[in-house]
Symmetry: C2
Subunit: 203 residues, 2 copies
C-alpha cells in the first residue's frame, strides 16, 4: 500500500521535525516522536532504523530549506539594491513562518560541525562571487564592494536577518518590558534591515 506508506513516513518525518526543532537532538525522545505521529515505537524504528538516521534526514531537509532562500539573490533579474530589499523581505518572511529554524541550525552546527561541512560540500562558494561580479560589476564598484569585503558584508546581512530569530527568547523578554511585540518588530525589520544595509554600503 504505497499510498498509506508515504503518509505514515511523512507523518513520522513531520513529527520528528517538530520534536527536534523544539528539543534538539539530545533533548528529543523517540517515544515523543512516535506519540506525536500517533504510531508506536516499533513502527517508528521500522521506518527510520535509528534516532541518528532520523535526525540526519530532518536536519538536511531543514538546512536545505534555510539556505535555499539565499539562492534567488543570484537568479532574480534585479539591481543590487532591489536584490537586497528582495532578500530581506523574502528571508524574514520565511523565518516568520519557520521561526525555530535558526536556533536549531546554529545549535546543531556547533554540536557537530562535520555535518555542516558535508552539506556545504555541494555548494561552490567561489563561483558565487564570479556570478555576483558578472551580474553587478558596475554596482559593486559604485558601492565599493570588493571580493575581500564580501565575507564581512554577507555575514552582516545574514546576522541582521537571522539573529532576531535565534535570540527570540531573549528579545521577547526585553520587548515585553518596552511594550512592543516581537511580531511588530519583525514586520518593521523587513524594511529597516534593507534601508540600514543599503545606507551603510552607499558611498
Amino acid at each position: 500500500m504505497g499510498e498509506n506508506d508515504k503518509l505514515t513516513e511523512e507523518r513520522i518525518f513531520d513529527a520528528a521535525t517538530d520534536v527536534f526543532l523544539d528539543k534538539g537532538m539530545d533533548g528529543a525522545r523517540m517515544q515523543d516522536i512516535a506519540d506525536r505521529a500517533t504510531i508506536n515505537k516499533a513502527l517508528l524504528h521500522y521506518y527510520y532504523r535509528t534516532k541518528d538516521k532520523l535526525f540526519n534526514a530532518v536536519f538536511e531537509k531543514i538546512a536545505g530549506k534555510l539556505f535555499s532562500k539565499f539562492a534567488p539573490v543570484f537568479s532574480e533579474n534585479l539591481s543590487l539594491e532591489e536584490k537586497i530589499r528582495f532578500f530581506f523581505r523574502e528571508h524574514i518572511t520565511f523565518l516568520q513562518q519557520n521561526p525555530r529554524l535558526p536556533a536549531f541550525i546554529l545549535n546543531e552546527i556547533n554540536r557537530n560541525p562535520a555535518r555542516m561541512r558535508k552539506i556545504l560540500n555541494n555548494i561552490d562558494i567561489n563561483k558565487l562571487w564570479s556570478v555576483l561580479e558578472e551580474q553587478h560589476h558596475d554596482e559593486l564598484v559604485r558601492y565599493n564592494i570588493t571580493k575581500e569585503s564580501i565575507p564581512q558584508i554577507m555575514t552582516t546581512i545574514a546576522a541582521i536577518s537571522v539573529f532576531p530569530f535565534a535570540a527570540r527568547g531573549l528579545l521577547e523578554a526585553i520587548f515585553e518590558k518596552m511594550n512592543i511585540t516581537f511580531d511588530s518588530y519583525i514586520e518593521e525589520r523587513k524594511v529597516f534591515a534593507a534601508d540600514f544595509v543599503i545606507k551603510a554600503l552607499t558611498k
Copy 2:
C-alpha cells in the same frame, strides 16, 4: 579547611562551565564534569546537590559576563560614535576570548525562556533609554535615532557582534573554502562593524 574548599568548588565550577559550554544542559554528563574536575561523583554532588543547581549557577555567571559587556556604553565618557567603536572593539575582543558563550546562551534561552526572564528582571530597560537621551541628546537628533528605532538599532548592533560566534561552525566551514581564517575575519570585524553601523546611522 576553607582554603582548599574554595579551590575544589572552583575546580568543579570551571569544569562544569567547560562541559556545559560544549554539550549544553541536555548533553552534559555529571560524570564528565567530575572527571574534568578530577574528583569523584560523590564529591560533585556534595558541593552542588543536583545537575540543575549546578547548571543554573554556571548559566547565571555566564549570562552576567556576557551582558555586563554592554554596560560601559552607558558609563564611558565618549561621543556616540566613539562609544560604538568602543563597544565593538571591546565586545568582539571579549567574545574572541569566550567564543562559545553566544551559542550556549542562545540555545539555552530558547530551551528555557523563563530562566532568561528571571535574569532580566534585575535590569530596568526603560531607564537605559533615558540615560542615553540625557548623555547624547544632540547626537541622537543628528543621527535620527528615536526611541522607536532603538530596538531595531540595538538588535542590529548585537547581531553584528554576536552572530559570527553563534554561527562559528558554519562560517568556519565556508571560510575554509575561501582560504580565509575565522580569526582574521573576526579581527577585521572589530572596525568593519563600527564603520558599517556609523555609516548606516549618519544622515
